[in-house]
Symmetry: C2
Subunit: 726 residues, 2 copies
């Protein structure tokens, strides 16, 4: 047992052991502070717990990416202002938040609120919203201040966060030296602890009786703080190129024939699609899962997979990590799982590397070997306490690895992703998956979050909030009550990190009927109507395919510089205070502002940020920053605005990305002095780019002429620039 | 530091210190078991925490009361089946619950559910309901099994309880010796821990890293288990006799003149009332509170109090224990309070006896000395996490006494009551108060819980659930949408432990207008309508006054034998399985079954328990047990059924109980061989009864003749038996 000496602020000393700590009466500990990356400081209070996102991280920090960021020699604020109590029941971290006009963003995927100041958050993984508490599929104890920094508390406990909403007692006694005079040194500590009674962001970590690491990320603005956080996480993920096309998930009870019929339908209508998802019905047992093909529905799965591959479709399989007793994995995992069953299945102890390996190896040998390109990791979230359905293992679960049940519920989705991802890394094959829960430091993992939230406002808020904390969000299109709503949903999804139509409860293809009830009753659209719907889907997905090389380059920047490809406007325009409230528009890459139509509407107001001029993508109209304009269009159109002085590469749309696809690119030139744009060219599906096997294709425009500069170690050519337009 | 040796089941040893514990990997500890009262066993796991209901109890167990109970030499089940893990993050208690047809009741005041088996409870003090989680004004970690026993886990943490709803892994591996075979001794422990994969009631106590006492209460039936629990708590409370009359709380903005006018109105209409409550407006500051009379509204408070006393009304003052900076208590409490303010006021560290004394002394000297007879301790509950109003201090609060913030939120109402109660005990004067939160072992405290729940079903469920766990519930009548609803509410309240009309937001007296909006707009009833309403109120409260001696005797049994005066039918008829679902009728004393009309209805079905015959109180109709009958009546009537072979003493109604009130009693005789009934006679307001200064007045009936046997040490006579009727 190694002992670490810590100093109490009042000069008393306390000793902390690696396993558990002795506690002083006040619990106050001082930090060991270290600069762990450029502009990133770690404050270590006590002895951090063994199971945290940092300790179970996917990748080391992406140190190379920091070089492009502004230098940050000094912390963004006095780090001594952060203090911590470690007691037998909890660890509490206090971060100053005393600027009245400061606002706060982050805390993960919360669909209910954008600004976080003044709220009480309980950052638990949850399948549904609980007020504005941050209960979500991606709760993250990381926040950003508009003063231009970020703070991350590295924990897998369920943090209760009081975001500048508590009033310390010292606020009432301030200036009253007679009453505020402490009677004991213990009271002196408390007085020192809430200086001046000013607001703080308080992280209460129940069950952590040991200590915690707190990380502070410099700016100078929110954008760089986000980049530093993502780079510290290991950099963003790099999807395969095909992952940027459309994903169509089909009916859960579909059999092999129906699967193939739906896939052929996509192709017959020329609707671009790269991925085809199978839902629970492919298992012999689901809820819990067998991970074995149902012979009844899928007598020849390899044949079907080959046929889908022949249509250019990568297959994604639904599953969850609760192992049915009939699963071949059961025997190997029974001693490496929690002490309670979920839906009668084992809860895998993913914190045990051997359990994770067993799970991965099964996927490798039995599913990925057949050609399965990705997985949808469902149900790794948690029902809220008010719902009594028999969903989850309890917080008091035990696991052989020693991870606590509450920590496991927070980390299950994250560790599950890591297990799946390990299969593909070993094969030097990129994957692109879906996941229902994740946590902090998740940026390197190539999975998109999805949820049951279905309001347009929730879609958008999650899209924006995700960009603050290293998450990717995939708003699913499942069904719609009208033609207008259906097309607007598809259109919004086409500008998300992943475009996904999830028709899991819809027996007939969605383009034959978007209304759920009618679809179930086989009340299908007329041929003309179907052609109209499919035509619009083709156009909408087609526009995404046109933007695919541009998006792929944006993801590469996410990978190497930590800048999210789809993000809040606040990150690029930190000085425009009007944006602090605007959560219904976002950036898609560097050049495009996206302001989707909501619900069934085909008109809306769009605020264009100050600090740039903007050109309507469809209209060509030039608009000054700071103005609000009215956008109009057809259902399924998306009001788009291009930032002035940008180049926008547009590809001729393809139906899907094949290994040998070459994109014909027309470059749109906006403004007189456009910044160069760098496309990324590689095989699009292996990890070879990590050892330099890729090209940068720099597009630039000067003196009325476009230039293409290709550099790098990749032999092939993905892009052919066929024209330049103004 | 004293060390206590504990044995691990597998033979490893672990040492637990009084302050904190070292933990084995599994955390398993074995109990030290002791029989602490007849039919009450304590299992001590590890080292219990310092702040628990048992350690902060109001009274020692009422040992004398156990003598009347059946002997219980052996525990109701094998206590070795209860096991416990103590880890650095939590203590977990597992209690077998493996009888398929067993049902479970208890867990406190939950208004949403009656049966508890299969539910997930989070027993937090809360101002409003959260699903069926047990969040309530009186969460109690005590439950009853229909097998005839009770289990109490002594904690002030917020327990997460899984009531026989989790499936241990061993359920899947049962009989599969190949897979269930443990590889390590640690796994052997786990296998032993969930024997046979059967359901358990699991108490997860987050933040308790030290240990816990578990108490088991023998039956043989639920009734005796409840009695043992209440006797162990110290016995039930004994209200002053006047506490059993009606309480009328008046408009919060009323001034002295309006208060007196409303009081005179009660008397002018002859509506029985014993208590008159003032709401926040009496303070110079409320939210937080000053505890100083507002000169503006109350220029002569002593005069007003004397005038109310002259009308026979005991005054009850609203307050909450958050101390405004202008309060005279502020200076004395500032160093004895938590580190955060609530509504700008101090949170009193009631776990510090000196803080509790300061708070009590102020009440004694400044308010009780003026003649204030009781207090309404409001807002000591807590807003649920989903509500972001700035209600409460956080779980991570610190207090000088060392109590944790989460423990304090669970105990605040309980300790608050104890402080107030101490004032009256010192004065040898009983009190009767209202409180918004309490916890386990609260039976001795003379306070009734109230809440904002306003559905008739919630009223009734709380009334019943309260009786399982030593709580008293006072369903408030605030306003109503119709004449029928208003009278039915009043009527239901008249059969609760406390009858209370709380008109705090109603400017004019409720009998002048029960509709809130109209009352606020001064749209009052006509004189005739008013007379009709007041007349019905007089009748309804009058019936309660007729039953007052009967109720007073029932409370005395609560005090001495632990049997709740108002209670679930299950307690008296444990063998009638039909009652397990019936939560809309209850017992009022031993003889009366109460089945109130719900909402605006004036008819309902009533199930009469097997094992007795019943006689309609109003109709005289004789009904066999096990039958369901249809009751009908006017709005404000309450269907009542008298158990056969009981004596029911009815007093001539008085408007209020004075020190010298003598009740003229007519005894109703039901059946051929009625059991004797014992009235309790004393001064009705001091604690002298505790040293024998009271009489038992035994009423009996034999051979067509009634007999009165008065015995005891009280000189006066409260009751004059004036007649016997059949």
């Amino acid at each position: 047992m190694r002992w670490v000496g810590l100093l109490l602020m009042a000069g008393e000393s306390v000793m902390c052991a690696h396993e558990g700590a002795e506690h002083s009466a006040s619990g106050l500990v001082v930090a060991e502070t270290a600069c762990v990356a450029p502009g990133v400081w770690r404050l270590r209070f006590g002895v951090p717990e063994a199971f945290t996102p940092d300790r179970l991280r996917e990748r080391p920090p992406e140190t190379g990416g920091f070089t492009g960021l502004p230098e940050a020699d000094a912390p963004p604020f006095e780090l001594g202002g952060i203090w911590c109590r470690v007691t037998p029941s909890r660890t509490v971290v206090y971060v100053p938040c005393d600027e009245p006009d400061d606002t706060i963003y982050g805390f993960g995927l919360d669909p209910t609120c954008y600004q976080q100041k003044g709220l009480r958050k309980r950052l638990t993984v949850a399948a549904s919203v609980i007020g504005q508490t941050g209960a979500s599929h991606g709760p993250v104890p990381f926040y950003l201040s508009t003063r231009g920094y970020g703070v991350y508390v590295d924990t897998a406990r369920v943090p209760l966060v009081h975001a500048a909403r508590l009033t310390p007692k010292s606020a009432a006694t301030k200036g009253r030296s007679d009453t505020a005079r402490p009677e004991t040194s213990e009271q002196a500590l408390y007085a020192a602890a809430h200086p001046e009674g000013l607001p703080e962001v308080v992280f209460d970590l129940p069950g952590n009786s040991s200590g915690v690491d707190v990380f502070v990320f410099a700016g100078p603005t929110l954008r760089e703080a986000v980049q530093r956080y993502n780079l510290f996480s290991g950099g963003g993920c790099m999807p395969p190129m095909w992952g940027l096309g459309m994903k169509y998930r089909t009916y859960t009870r579909a059999d092999q024939e129906r699967v193939l019929a739906h896939a052929r339908g996509l192709r017959a209508h020329g609707i671009p699609a790269d991925m085809f998802g199978l839902e629970p019905g492919w298992h012999t047992k689901a809820y819990s899962c067998s991970f074995v093909w149902s012979e009844e529905r899928f007598p020849a799965p390899q044949e079907m997979l080959d046929a889908l591959r022949g249509m250019g479709l990568k297959v994604n399989l639904w599953e969850h990590a609760y192992i049915h007793p009939t699963s071949p994995m059961f025997e190997d995992l029974v001693q490496r799982s929690g002490d309670y069953l979920v839906w009668g299945g084992l809860v895998v102890d993913f914190a045990d590397p051997e359990a994770s390996r067993i799970f991965a190896d099964y996927h490798d040998e039995h599913l990925v070997s057949m050609g399965v390109a990705g997985f949808k990791a469902d149900e790794c979230d948690r029902q809220p306490i008010s719902d009594c359905t028999p969903f989850n293992y309890p917080y008091c679960s035990s696991f052989p690895s020693g991870i606590d049940g509450d920590q496991m519920t927070q980390l299950y989705g994250y560790l599950y992703q890591r297990s799946i991802y390990s299969v593909y890394k070993k094969r030097n094959q990129r994957t692109w998956g879906d996941v229902r829960a994740t946590t902090a430091l998740a940026a390197p993992l190539p999975f998109c979050l999805y949820s049951d939230a279905y309001g347009f406002d929730e879609y958008l808020r999650q899209l924006l909030n995700a960009s603050f904390t290293g998450l990717l969000w995939s708003p699913e299109v499942r069904a719609a009550g009208s033609y207008e709503e259906y097309l607007n949903r598809i259109a919004l999804s086409s500008f998300a990190p992943q475009m996904c139509v999830d028709a899991w409860f819809i027996p007939n293809p969605l383009w034959r009927q978007y209304d759920r009830g009618k679809n179930e009753r086989d009340e299908l659209l007329s041929k003309e109507e179907e052609a109209r719907v499919a035509g619009r889907m083709r156009e909408i997905a087609g526009l995404r395919m046109q933007l695919l090389p541009y998006l792929y380059a944006s993801f590469h920047r996410y990978r190497t510089t930590g800048l999210p490809p789809v993000r809040s406007l606040l990150l690029d325009f930190p000085d425009d205070a009007a944006l602090r409230e605007i959560d219904d528009a976002f950036l898609f890459g560097d050049a495009l502002l996206v302001a989707p139509f909501l619900g069934t509407s085909t008109t809306r107001e769009v605020y264009l940020p100050k600090g740039a001029e903007w050109i309507g993508f469809h209209t060509g109209e030039r608009i000054a920053g700071g103005a609000t304009v009215t956008a109009e269009g057809r259902p399924g159109d998306v009001p788009l605005y291009v930032r002035d002085n940008r180049l926008l590469p547009l590809a001729d749309p393809v139906e899907y990305v094949a290994a040998d696809t070459v994109f014909d690119i027309t470059v749109r030139v906006y403004g007189e002095a456009p910044a160069p744009f760098v496309l990324i060219e590689d095989d699009g599906e292996s990890f070879d780019y990590q050892r330099g096997v890729y090209n940068t294709v720099e597009l630039s425009w000067a003196n009325g002429e476009g230039k293409v500069l290709r550099q790098g170690g990749y032999d092939g050519a993905r892009y052919r620039v066929v024209g330049w337009t103004r």
